[in-house]
Amino acid sequence: MAEAQTVGAIELSAIDLAIAGGLVLVAGVVSVLLRLGLEKRLLLAAVRTVVQLLMIGYVLKWVFDIDTLWAILPVVLLMILAAGHAAVHRSSRTFPGVLLRAVGTLAMSGFITTVIVTGVIVGAQPWYEPQYLIPLLGMVLGNGLTGISLSLDTLLEQLVERRDEVELHLALGATRWEAARDALADAVRRGMIPTINSMMVVGIVALPGMMTGQILAGADPLEAVKYQVVVMFMIAGATSTGCIIIVLLAYRRLFTPRHQLDSAAIRARGKK
């Protein structure tokens, strides 16, 4: 039922979307026949998919029409704040000032990496061209927040569970850096592993969503691959610098200038 073809992509009509909806209907019928009791959830999920994506579609349409830096910055800031909030709330432990540090980390690692990609590698004109900046930043922040929350979680867990070991090092004359080094290295490593793993299997286990999207939109597969390579490297760079920055910021907060571990500052996050 597809009609006109614009800029390489086949445009979808309302009938196309209705047919796709029919596929969900099949799942609903299966649920009824097998008495899985999932019909209501499935219906709700389908409606939410449409509504949420439509909303973000309108938001992106509005954002992409913005052509001044001052108008795009609040959007960028909002994305960074949301990512920072999500990063610290995934961690099971917390300490005072963690949100500020997570937001600062994502701003430094995510925003700077994205700007290098849009401004230097892709060469978007201007560098803050929303069509490039927003999706790329979104991908970087999404991966970055996973990395920094894993790093934070690991660091805080190590400092709580291995407090005696850390204090043993301090008691025998280690500097705070020498005492913390094992825990810091573990935390950075843990945060970076998912990104490295995804680079290992990309293109083998599954095609990345961005590349698939470009191919469906009519792009040459090799061009799509080039973009995907840039995106993977951008994510790897931003995530690893993010993990290092958050771990160092947490270290500076949790070890005092008197080379003590301020373990009282680490608290379990209340269950919601």
Binding site: E167, A171, L172, G173, A174, E178, R258, H259, Q260
Partner: protein
């Protein structure tokens, strides 16, 4: 009078917002072993941790050779005024690695002397074969002896011993006490021994300070937990 190695001036400590001890002024001279005695929960461990700078005191000062720790920096201070935990803390590694680790710290600035390590272990009733053993597979008594040997190897001027025999059986306790009696004074070293056992204080120490005289007016609220 021999050199004053460690002194505290009007030290006060608290835990969980409750003042435990105050007005602790003491001098520890070279070659001396001083006992700090008091009942469980009176703040002995908190006091020793504050002296080691692992926690901040509420008030007062600590000095090593008449200088505040900031003079040399806290790591250098702790390398000379070394705290030994009440419950032995072993790294997840062999006994030898546990003994070697402090020699990698910048402020220790010495070479690991394996012969001396073996000799000390033997004095503590542990053989050379224990060096290759995973430290956490040792009994608590053996771990505590390794813990004291680890501290002794870096040749601190002052040992801060937090109830070092409280977790040990009779034989292990007597082995640790014998070693402390000999090594505690070696080359003018001094030791501050925290204990609730007044008999042990008498057996090992030249003099003792009863911390009950330093409880705040109302007395501390006794806490649970591991504060000795």
């Amino acid at each position: 009078m021999s050199e004053t190695l460690l002194s505290t001036i009007d030290l006060a400590v608290s835990a969980g917002g409750t003042r435990l001890l105050e007005g602790i002024t003491l001098k520890l001279h070279a070659g001396e072993m001083l006992a700090l005695t008091g009942p469980s929960g009176c703040g002995k461990t908190s006091l020793l941790r504050a002296i080691a700078g692992l926690d901040d005191p509420d008030a007062g000062e600590v000095r090593f050779r008449e200088q505040p720790p900031e003079h040399t920096g806290w790591p250098a201070f702790r390398r000379h005024v070394t705290f030994v935990h009440q419950r032995p803390v072993m790294l997840n590694a062999t006994v030898e690695e546990n003994l070697r680790r402090p020699f990698r710290y910048r402020h220790v600035a010495r070479e690991f002397d394996r012969d001396r390590a073996v000799a000390l272990l033997k004095d503590f009733g542990l053989g050379e074969e224990h060096l290759a053993q995973e430290a956490r597979t040792l009994s608590i008594g053996q771990q505590q002896r390794v813990s004291v040997v680890r501290a002794l190897l870096i040749e601190p001027a002052v040992l801060l011993l937090d109830e070092p025999t409280s977790a040990l059986d009779e034989d292990a306790r007597s082995a640790v006490e014998n070693l402390l009696r000999r090594e505690g004074h070696r080359n003018g070293r001094a030791a501050l021994l925290v204990t609730h056992d007044r008999e042990q204080a008498r057996r090992l120490c030249d003099r003792s300070l009863d911390l009950r005289e330093h409880l705040p007016e109302a007395g501390p609220r006794m806490r649970g937990g591991d504060d000795g």
